[in-house]
Symmetry: none
DNA sequence: TACTCCATCGCATGATCGTGTGATACCACC
DNA sequence: GGTGGTATCACACGATCATGCGATGGAGTA
């Protein structure tokens, strides 16, 4: 079953050559190529593509805005952004808006099919420099001092607790006795001025005392 | 000028084979290979490597903890994590701790040099599945409406619970029997697929399932 | 009318948690 | 050498929670 694709690209020449590439690959099926995204909602709903190739830098409504609109429809098809910039705010914004990956225009001829395959397999193709930006943004800034002066171990316990783990699981995850978990939690409660797990978790998450939670992404 | 490298890996065989690979490449220079990270601060400060290969899954102090320690020293050298897991919390934690990229152990033979080159050029090598997770984490979730189809009352209870209240307090705040609170919480657990307060609160806050404060004022 | 949700409440049992009172050991600091 | 903080562990008791098994009544719907 071929993968149906829609292209949004305002440059006639590039749109044509993208279309040609897609048509040359018999696992792909081009079902639309447009020079703007004015009617993108209708087009997506009508044509039901398996994948979208989206230029970021279009006059009028940008590709980023277009991605937001698609995601607002609750449609989770892969969208690969195309851009001439490799490390600017636009690419970053596109990721935040819900793009699945992106491809530099200078790499299209060599990597388009790789990128398509990667997003279809649940991956997220992106250039090294943006990958770096993305993971930098997730770093725990050492400057983030905890206002409750929790010790290292207490932070570990609190983080695990905030993921929803029981004492038993915390003990297993961190590698200590359940009694030690109790002890740490006792002092956490004192420092946070709370008296139950829920209070502690609530405070911890709302005041960002814990590391980001992975399970929330799945 | 060769790139100086330190390896941390508790498995003797793998440490040896990593060392051999590095030594075979004449642009790289192996300056240390250790089976644990107990003295990592001193080793890093003394040997001043250009790059670190770090096993995540070491007994005692994990590679993640070791990354944190390096970053706490204010040292920003690239650190590539090595792990057998490709999509778990540990990899995510490693990125948050400050890892520059990571490599699955099964891909070491084919991609070690690529990964090294990529981090040295400011990139962030990672597997497609984790790249996808990372990107998802930055998504602006389009105003989600009860993805778990909680009833009105269940939302009230969950909101109160997420503020850190006990069953007794929830009952008092909303105005119902503690047994009714239990019943609602039972169905909340079922719908959220959790089995404890902390799990529920964690999920509720992270996924913004709770109502805004206004609704609690009545 | 019957059926399906929702909201309300009760009870009982075993598991888990909250808390107090210990202890030992390491480390830094004065 | 003492003092204070951290990390580790143990035990015990009462409080709270998790869960299964009920029950009743109302609102909406086929």
């Amino acid at each position: 079953m071929p993968v149906s694709i829609i292209i949004y690209e305002d440059n006639d020449q590039l749109r044509e050559s993208l279309g040609s590439m897609v048509r040359l690959n018999n696992t792909l099926h081009l079902i639309g190529a447009f020079e703007n995204v004015l009617a993108i909602e209708d087009q997506i709903k009508l044509l039901e593509p398996n994948l979208v190739l989206m230029d970021i830098d279009m006059p009028g409504i940008t590709g980023i805005e277009a991605v937001k609109r698609i995601r607002q429809l609750g449609i989770e098809i892969p969208i690969i952004m195309l851009t001439v910039f490799d490390d600017n705010q636009h690419v970053f914004d596109a990721i935040c808006a819900g793009a699945s990956g992106y491809l530099l225009k200078k790499h299209i001829s060599s990597k388009l099919f790789d990128a398509i395959e990667e997003v279809l397999n649940g991956g997220a193709p992106m250039s090294p420099s943006v990958a770096q930006m993305v993971i930098s943004s997730m770093r725990q800034k050492p400057a983030q001092v905890n206002p409750y002066s929790l010790s290292d171990r207490e932070s570990d316990v609190l983080t695990s607790l905030s993921r929803g783990n029981s004492y038993k699981l915390i003990a297993a995850e961190i590698g200590m006795s359940i009694n030690t978990v109790r002890t740490h939690i006792k002092s956490i409660y004192e420092k946070l001025q709370v008296h139950s797990q829920t209070e502690a978790v609530s405070k911890a998450i709302n005041e960002k005392l814990t590391k980001p939670l992975l399970s929330m992404l799945l």
